[in-house]
Amino acid sequence: MSDFLTQFAPALPEIFVLAMVSLILVIDAAVDDSKRYIAYVLSLATLAGAAFLTMNDFSTMPVLALNGLFIDDPLSDVLKLFLYLTVATVLVYSRDYLRTRGLYKGEFFVLALFALLGMMVMVSASHFLTLYLGLELLSLSLYAMVALQRDSGVASEAAMKYFVLGALASGMLLYGMSMIYGVTGSLALADIAQNLSDGTDLRIPLVFGIVFIVAGLAFKLGAVPFHMWVPDVYHGAPTAVTLLIGSAPKIAAFAFVVRILGQGLESQASEWRDMLVILAVLSMAVGNIAAIAQTNLKRMLAYSTISHMGFMLLGILAGSQNGYSSAMFYVLVYALMSLGGFGMILLLSRAGFEADKLEDFKGLNRRSPWLAFLMLLLMFSMAGVPPTVGFYAKLSVLQAVVGIGYVWLAVAAVLFSLIGAFYYLRIVKLMYFDTPHDTSPIAASPDTRIIMSANGLAVLALGILPQPLMAVCVYAIGASF
């Protein structure tokens, strides 16, 4: 009996979140509209509780559980802590926005927590089945969240596109996984890695499998040429949902990619590296160039996400612990910047007004110098200009790429980031050089302002002292591989 229970112990945070989501679902069904804050508070409490459980049971070395389906290692624990933090920030930023749009309901919180549960399963999966299970739980929650605003045509269209393309990607991924299963006879990542490093005669099915898996991963990451859904979904979804889609799932997707490619298929790095090079270069090119043409900030940030994912892939394709930890650093920094960028749209929005067009940022420096300054930090960070943390994210992936001798790739990357700098600078230009055409006061509540300040200043503080976060990444990767 006790043996049966102890094998669930590493999954305690997941079990806790699941129990709490069910509880919130029940409670929210029983309360009237004036008490919706109960779901909000309980959701934050769930995140705090999960963080406590994860910290309490922090594993310094990999522990396999549930018959090898589930792994609890430093990488998963660290990433989970960042997931909690990210989702909590999303909830705080979203509250006022949801309230003024009639979306302040239990469904939003329940779906957000289910998405979180899916991400937690993804980062802790050591088996193709759990990876897929986590991914689908995340995706299905997000499809529903995009369509949460039922009477919005744009949102429904976005949800439809997201669902169809997401399902296609899942299918490709599954197909690839089945190929790998055919070659190695196992679905557990450790067995696959062992089996492949011994060598195999089945090269063609193996390479086919890798191609499908990489294509599926690229779909989920939004890497070019599998990126078509990204701008539409980011643009069409309610901004609070865009904030969620644009931040936490990228962290989970990083874990997903590293688990499959870095742990399961590491011996085949020569096969997937070239594929990732193409994906990375195309993503950086298309993301940065297409972003210039956007007039909607959400779309612009969507293209910027594509280019950032291209940069993150640079770290992964470099392989080895150095490359993975630099990619991890990049993705955590990206999540921080993305939270700030989309959070700023939420902060400036108010009842009946979406601050998602570029001209809505005109003259922000006159309306609120402090918010303008925070946005300035976020934009320069996304552009990779020191002394903001975005620079070190770029530096770490670039050194990983140069380290494996791909200097030309580093040169291409910096040239595309130069193009990218243009549209980030344009936001700063709008805020500082232009005069406002919208002079109504900014209606953000004090707690969102405080979190936004912390978010923006974190970009600067980590830019002056990046070592702690880098050390965490190096440790998490080093202790898990």
């Binding site: 420096n365 110098p369 300035l376 320069f380 200009v385 020191p386 002394p387 620079f391 070190y392 530096l395 770490s396 670039l398 050194q399 140069v402 380290g403 200097v407 580093a410 040169v411 910096v414 040239l415 980031s417 130069l418 700098a421 243009f422 600078l425 700063v428 230009k429 500082y432 050089f433 002292l465 990046p466 070592q467 880098m470 050390a471 190096v474």
Partner: protein
């Protein structure tokens, strides 16, 4: 008490003062913001004084060194130190910052706190550029200074400010990013170090040196700026406020030239020798061709901007003569140009504040209404033309001498600046200051006030002192320059 951390103070005092200025908030507290800014700038200059008094001119080693671990993951250090090459530049920067704060005292009425803070923060960052001995630390300061400068040009600039700000930022970013890749490459070649002095002794193959040479050349060449990547400078100058122009000309251009001495020559000596002809050619084009371009300008600020490019051509020319005379001449020219260009832009600022025009044709006969100003302007115009006894002469003469030893024709083309410089500067001076008063508004002008006399007077003293007795300056540089050249003479090929 702070004896061990003078360089940190020189960097952080202006930055913290800038933050304090920002904290004063809106324009209601503008007076307070101005005074805090002045106090910060003066304090920044005061903490830089020990760099001169405690400087040992007998050694080429780095002095006032500070070293602390910063990012152990990549072996990056907070490593500061100065030698005879960088110390005078730090002092120049701290000094110019005080002038800039005073120059903006009355003129800037909009967002005063942000204006002053941007200059102070930039001043600290530029000091950081000159004091960094770690590649990434250098890069952080080098790039970080773009942010305040971008805002200065874009927020307080003229009608075409947005174009100028973007052009300036993207041009310089292009060079910097390629330099960043080079630095990462050096990190691996040197066995995992971002230490600049370690790079000085890292062996490098010719192909790598060549590629990196052009990457660094682009990064620093854009900042200098060298022909043909100079086109951002006239745009940025014309649209920048007076203070912005002063800092651009007096300081940021020196950052590019400094990069040649700290990075290109010592890290890539073989490529530098191989492609010296290329840099020399570009420099001579800058001297002669840009001098002719300056002659054709009708906007005073543009004229001085082109004159800056021509003068900076002298600096790079001097560096690639590979002789103490040439390098020291280039350095003297850098400092001198810092004083002279700052003074000329302040002079134009004085006129612009009164008439709101930078066009030469709107002036004429200024001497009738502003005799004192005309006298100061005369001195600085002469210095710009390289008249003996002014600082402008010393550097140019040294570089021409060094060039004559290498090749007569280098010296010949370089010497055309003495003619062209005199032509465009004095011709402008004649059209603005002498002649009949044609514009009725010139009739109503008043002479410079005490604040302006102070600004121009201090610079006049500097220009004359350096012109009459340059030895203290060259003494500071000499040992470091000789050591640098000894280093450059050694091949680093494997």
């Amino acid at each position: 008490m702070f004896g061990q951390s003078i360089l940190s103070l020189v960097i952080w005092v202006p930055i913290l003062a800038g933050v304090a200025v920002l904290a004063t908030g809106s324009d209601r507290n503008a007076t307070l913001a101005r005074w805090i800014a002045l106090a910060g700038a003066l304090l920044g200059l005061a903490v830089a004084i020990p760099l001169v008094t405690g400087f040992d001119t007998g050694t080429s080693a780095m002095q006032f060194v500070e070293k602390a671990t910063w990012i152990p993951a990549f072996n990056i250090h907070y490593h500061l130190g100065v030698d005879g090459i960088s110390m005078p530049l730090i002092l120049l920067n701290s000094f110019i910052t005080v002038l800039v704060v005073i120059a903006g005292w009355r003129v800037i009425q909009d967002k005063v706190a942000q204006y002053m803070a941007a200059f102070l923060i930039m001043s600290g960052l530029i000091n950081g550029v000159f004091a960094s001995l770690d590649g990434i630390l250098f890069y952080v300061f080098f790039e970080g200074m773009l942010i305040p400068l971008y805002l200065i040009v874009g927020v307080w600039g003229g009608p075409n400010r947005v174009y100028a700000a973007f052009k300036f930022f993207l041009y310089t970013l292009l060079g910097s990013l390629l330099m960043l890749v080079s630095m990462i490459y050096l990190y691996f070649q040197s066995g995992g170090s971002f230490d600049i002095q370690t790079w000085h002794t890292t062996t490098l193959g010719m192909t790598a040196q060549t590629l990196m040479f052009f990457a660094f050349l682009l990064a620093f060449g854009v900042k200098v700026p060298m022909w043909p990547v100079h086109t951002w400078l006239p745009d940025a100058h014309v649209e920048a406020p007076t203070g912005g122009s002063v800092v651009l000309a007096a300081i940021t251009l020196k950052v590019g030239a400094y990069g040649f001495l700290r990075f290109i020559l010592p890290i890539l000596p073989d490529a530098s020798a191989e492609y010296a002809w290329f840099v020399i050619a570009l420099s001579l084009i800058a001297v002669a061709y840009i001098g002719l371009v300056a002659l054709a300008q009708s906007d005073m600020k543009k004229l001085i901007a082109y004159s800056s490019i021509a003068h900076m051509g002298f600096v790079t020319l001097g560096f690639f003569m590979f002789s103490p005379l040439g390098v020291e001449g280039g350095l003297v020219q850098m400092i001198s140009h810092g004083f002279v260009s700052a003074a000329l832009f302040l002079c134009i600022g004085v006129m612009y504040d009164r008439l709101h025009s930078r066009q030469i044709k709107d002036y004429g006969g200024l001497v009738n209404r502003m005799p004192l100003f005309a006298a100061f302007f005369m001195l600085f115009a002469m210095a710009n033309a390289g008249l003996p006894a002014t600082s402008g002469f010393v550097g140019e003469f040294m570089v021409i001498m060094a060039a004559a030893k290498v090749n007569f024709w280098f010296a010949f083309v370089a010497a055309t600046t003495l003619i062209l410089g005199a032509a465009y500067t004095l011709w402008m001076y004649k059209r603005v200051v002498f002649g009949e008063v044609t514009n009725p508004r010139v009739e109503e002008l008043t002479d410079i006030n005490a604040r302006e006399i102070l600004l121009l007077g201090v610079l006049a003293v500097c220009v004359l002192a350096m012109g009459l007795y340059p030895k203290p300056f060259t003494d500071i540089m000499h040992v470091s320059v000789v050591d640098l050249l000894a280093h450059v003479a050694q091949s680093k090929l494997p």
